[in-house]
Each structure stands twice: as structure tokens, then as C-alpha cells.
């Protein structure tokens, strides 16, 4: 059986890859993908904790199911916004959508 520390190392790495992608990518779709990475790493955390450490109740599994459902809803709204933004800006690059500044 894979030890729990390997799993946690994997999920934490995935989370920070997501954060790094969110801070460096310039494409809006790539930003949404980075957010999905972050949320999925949290899902792995919940499932691992539930299976290895607290197998009595299903709290963690339920939490991850709800996270998956809400991530889908979030992606739906975000992509609708990106489509609307593409119609007016004709681009999905973050640098082209820079009208609001200090």
C-alpha cells in the first residue's frame, strides 16, 4: 500500500503547481485549468485523509463529491464569462483585458 506521506506530497505539489500556473499563465482558459488543479489536489487530500486516517465516517468523500460538483458549476459560469469577454475583446489573453487600472 502506498504510504500516506507520498499521497500528501503529491497533492501538495499539485496544489502549488496550480498556484504557479494561476500566477504565470496569460491565457484565460489556462487560468481556469490551474484553478481546477488546485481544487483537484484538495479532493485528493480529502479522499486520502478519509481512507487512511479516518475510515469510520465518509465526511471527506462527501466533501470531495461536493467540491467536484461546485467546480463544474464554477467552470460553467467562468467559461460563459470568457465567451462574453471574447466577443467584445476578440482575445482570451489576460493582457488584452486591461482597461481597469489604478
Amino acid at each position: 500500500m502506498v504510504p500516506v506521506s507520498h499521497m500528501l506530497f503529491f497533492s501538495t505539489a499539485l496544489f502549488f503547481i496550480g498556484v504557479y500556473g494561476l500566477l504565470t499563465r496569460r491565457n484565460m482558459i489556462a487560468l481556469l485549468m490551474s484553478i481546477e488543479l488546485m481544487l483537484n489536489s484538495v479532493n485528493i487530500n480529502f479522499v486520502v485523509f478519509n481512507k487512511y486516517l479516518w475510515p469510520g465516517q465518509l465526511d471527506g468523500v462527501f466533501f470531495s463529491i461536493f467540491i467536484i460538483a461546485i467546480a463544474a458549476a464554477e467552470a460553467a459560469v467562468a467559461i460563459a464569462i470568457v465567451i462574453n469577454l471574447y466577443r467584445s475583446h476578440l482575445s482570451v489573453d489576460v493582457d488584452d483585458a486591461a482597461e481597469l487600472k489604478y
Partner: protein, 479 residues
């Protein structure tokens, strides 16, 4: 069981009823916008009345949902604020193609806030938070033709998704180290081990994003400027109040045993928010951006009160947010009125407003005085109670910084008042004066009180004075 659900969840049930009504109405082809507005406003009034009739407390669904008198008061405040936003948005929504969808999204976020307030479980809290923030991004995008609106909506949804990602990361570590997501069991299971500290800090960062405390405030000004004015009002009053209510209760009850971890974090957030909010508010020209930075500074003052960690501080936070609700919505009502009738939003456009349109200028001045915390208004008592609560711990440095910041904030609030009362419009054509100048004062007042949304402003004024009176009464009772 069923009567319990109906009684304890009556505010939520009423909101769900409005949502379903609107959905089926939309499916059936929709109706005239005025009738939709009347139904939504009537439903909100009914929800407010239902919230006031009985006082009860209890739990539902195996300790997922709880309610008590304080939560009911907070929910009533939110419903009242939503009603006021719906009234001040009425003219703008009536001209929009998708009026019904606007109300659907608005009531959905309100429902999410109510569930978030009533949550007794981190899962329920997360669901309520997302229900309160995902439809908001769609509301920010509601000026479909304007480029800024789409940009603001994208910034909003990315930063709110990032914030929930961090929040969930923290929650997952809390779950991993304690094995529970229930608030009461978490409070007893937290021991302060390093992993739990990581979890608490990540959860605090997520909260900081949602309530736009410095250094997590970068999305706020852009989103507030890009969004339509009623949505900005909604963001700055409702979603901010809801998250602050939950923040205080989670901090005090769930993380109560880890106070030495978060106390210094909250102090730093408070000082940073006050300083950055005030300094940036000084250099803003756009009214919406100006109010955005002012609301960041107000969050700093609220966090000073939160630092007090006693019963007075949670009462002071609720009272301050009640006052903030009226004064901020009053300011936004006037910004919306002027932006709707002339399309102007910068401070320079407000020059000479007092001569052209005294009623509006006085209302805006009173709202700004209340935000600044000048004595006869209720805002003064709100800030006074907050500082009093913050002083309870004896961190005098924090209180001194807050007091100095209150003086600094006078500068930029009075800048708008000065523009309205002491400066004259350079060119009268195209300015605010041009349209109203020829009407006499009496005629103008009459017109103000016969416009549907201007009566909202009158209502706000009355309520503001009511709040002043209330605070004086509280002081008399205390002594």
C-alpha cells in the same frame, strides 16, 4: 419534523419560493418587468416580516443547519439590504433585457448567504459560500455591452475561485488532523499542532480574499468599478457583511482555542487594510473606485473591533455593519441616480451639485459623514463601539493607528463634500447642473419625492436617523 423545517428555515424557504416562482414564470414566457419587480419586492418584504415574527433557535439535518436570534437578526439585515438594492436597481433593471435573470441571480446569492450564516458544518459553509459567490460573477457581467463589465466579471470569478481553493486547502488539513468538519467537534479537537496552524492560516487567507482585506484586496477596486452600480452596492454591502458575520463566529467559536495564532494575523490585516484603503482612496477620481477603497478601509476598522475577542466585539461588529448598510447603500443610491440620469461617475462631475440639486447633495453628504464617523451620525457610534471593543485587549498601538486613520479618512470623504458644496461647475453644459439648473428648489424636491427610486433615498435617510436614535438609546441604556 416538517413543521420544524418550515419554522426554522422560514427565511430560506421564502427565498426558495421566490426563486422557483421566477424560474417557472420565466419558463412560461415571463411577464412585464414592473410586475416581476413587484413580486420580488413583495416576496422580500414577506421574508423580512417572517424573520421578525418569532424568535426561536434550533438545529436541523443532523447538526448541519442551526439558527438562533443573532443569526435571525443578521439574516433580516441581509434581506433588508437586498430589498433596498432591488429598489435602487429598479430603474436600471427595467431597461435591461434580462430583468428576470437579474432577480434570480440576486435571490440565489441571498439564499447562499443565509445558508452560509446558518451553517454548523464546514461543508455547509462551503456550499453556502459558493452559492453566494458564483452567481455574483454573473451579476457583475450584467452590462453585457460594456467591455469593463466582462473584464470585472472575469477578475471576480478567478479571484473568488482562487480564494475558495486556498480555503478548501486549509479545510482539508483541518479535516486531516482532526477527522471532523463539524464546527462544535472541531472547536474541541483543535490542539494547535503545526499542520493545524497551516490549515487555520489558509482558511484565514481565504476569508481575507472574500472580505477584501489587504493584502488580498487587489481584485476589489477593479470589480467595483467595472460592475453596474447596483451590483457594486450589492457586493460592497451584502457579500461583505455576510462573510464578516461568518468570520466573527468561526473565529471566536471554532478557532477560539488557537487565539495566539490568529490574533497577530488579524492585527496585521487590520492595520494594512486601514492604511492601504485610506491612502489609495485619496487618489481616486471615479466614485465607485473611491467607495471600493473606502470599503477596504472600513473592513480594517471592523477587524480592529474583531481583535477585541469578547462579547462586546461581536455586538459592535453587527451594529457597525447595520449602520454601514444604510450609509453605504445611501451613498450608492445617489451614485446610481446620477449615473443613471447623466452617465457621469467621477468626483469632478459632482462639482456644484449642492446648488443644482440640494436634496441629492445633502443626502450624499450625510451618508459620507456617516461613513467617515462624524459625531451626530450613526457611523460615529459604530466606529466608537468598534474601537472600544478593540481596546478590550489593551493593544494600544492598534487603537492609535485606527484613530489616526479615522482622521486621514476625513480628508477624502470631505473632498467629495467640498466638490459638491464649495466648487462650481466649470462648464455648465453637459454637467449635472445643465439638466436640473432651471428647475426651482421646490419643484425639484417635488420631483425627487415622486420618482420611485428617489423615494428609496428618502427612506434611507429616515432609516439613517433611526439608527442614530437607536445608538443614542443604547448608550443611555448602558449608563
Amino acid at each position: 419534523m416538517w413543521t420544524d423545517i418550515l419554522l426554522l428555515m422560514r427565511t430560506e424557504m421564502m427565498l426558495i419560493l421566490i426563486i422557483f416562482l421566477l424560474l417557472f414564470w420565466k419558463l412560461g414566457g415571463g411577464g412585464r418587468v414592473q410586475i416581476v419587480q413587484a413580486v420580488v419586492n413583495g416576496g422580500l418584504v414577506l421574508a423580512l416580516l417572517l424573520g421578525f415574527v418569532l424568535s426561536d433557535s434550533g438545529e436541523l439535518f443532523g447538526h448541519m443547519f442551526r439558527t438562533n436570534d443573532l443569526l435571525r437578526l443578521e439574516k433580516n439585515m441581509l434581506v433588508l439590504a437586498a430589498l433596498l438594492v432591488s429598489l435602487l436597481a429598479s430603474q436600471w433593471v427595467a431597461a435591461h433585457r434580462h430583468a428576470m435573470e437579474f432577480y434570480l441571480l440576486m435571490i440565489s446569492t441571498l439564499l447562499g448567504m443565509c445558508f452560509m450564516l446558518s451553517s454548523a458544518n464546514l461543508l455547509m459553509f462551503y456550499l453556502g459560500l459558493e452559492l453566494a459567490s458564483i452567481p455574483l460573477a454573473a451579476m457583475v457581467n450584467f452590462d453585457l455591452q460594456r467591455k469593463q463589465s466582462a473584464e470585472a466579471a472575469f477578475k471576480m470569478i478567478v479571484s473568488s475561485a482562487f480564494a475558495s481553493g486556498i480555503l478548501l486547502f486549509g479545510i482539508s488539513w483541518l479535516y486531516g488532523t482532526t477527522g471532523t468538519v463539524d464546527f462544535d467537534s472541531l472547536a474541541t479537537a483543535l490542539t494547535g499542532s503545526p499542520l493545524q496552524v497551516l490549515g487555520v492560516v489558509a482558511v484565514l487567507a481565504g476569508f481575507g480574499f472574500k472580505m477584501s482585506a489587504v493584502p488580498f484586496h487587489l481584485w476589489t477596486a477593479d470589480v467595483y468599478e467595472g460592475a453596474p452600480v447596483p451590483v457594486t452596492a450589492y457586493l460592497s454591502v451584502l457579500s461583505k457583511s455576510a462573510i464578516l458575520f461568518v468570520f466573527v463566529s468561526v473565529l471566536y467559536t471554532v478557532f477560539g482555542s488557537m487565539q495566539q495564532v490568529w490574533y497577530i494575523v488579524i492585527c496585521v490585516l487590520a492595520i494594512g487594510s486601514m492604511l492601504v484603503g485610506n491612502l489609495f482612496a485619496m487618489r481616486q477620481q471615479n466614485m465607485k473606485r473611491f467607495l471600493a477603497f473606502s470599503s477596504i478601509a472600513q473592513v480594517g476598522f471592523i477587524l480592529v473591533g474583531v481583535c477585541g475577542v469578547n462579547a462586546t466585539s461581536s455586538a459592535a461588529v453587527v451594529f457597525f455593519l447595520l449602520v454601514y448598510l444604510f450609509s453605504n447603500l445611501g451613498a450608492f443610491a445617489i451614485v446610481q441616480h446620477i449615473s443613471q440620469s447623466t452617465g457621469k461617475e467621477t468626483i469632478d462631475d459632482y462639482r456644484g451639485l449642492a446648488r443644482a440639486n440640494p436634496a441629492l447633495a445633502w443626502l450624499l453628504a450625510i451618508a459620507l459623514f456617516s461613513l467617515a464617523g462624524i459625531p451626530p451620525t450613526a457611523g460615529f457610534f459604530g466606529k466608537f463601539f468598534l474601537l472600544l471593543a478593540g481596546a478590550g485587549k489593551g493593544t494600544w498601538f492598534l487603537i492609535i493607528v485606527a484613530a489616526l486613520n479615522m482622521i486621514v479618512s476625513l480628508y477624502y470623504y470631505l473632498r467629495v463634500v467640498k466638490a459638491m458644496f464649495m466648487e462650481t461647475q466649470a462648464s455648465r453644459t453637459g454637467g449635472l447642473c445643465g439638466r436640473y439648473f432651471h428647475h426651482g428648489f421646490v419643484w425639484r424636491c417635488l420631483r425627487v419625492y415622486f420618482q420611485p427610486h428617489a423615494s428609496v433615498e428618502a427612506l434611507l435617510l429616515i432609516l439613517l436617523f433611526h439608527a442614530v436614535w437607536l445608538s443614542i438609546k443604547i448608550i443611555l441604556l448602558k449608563n
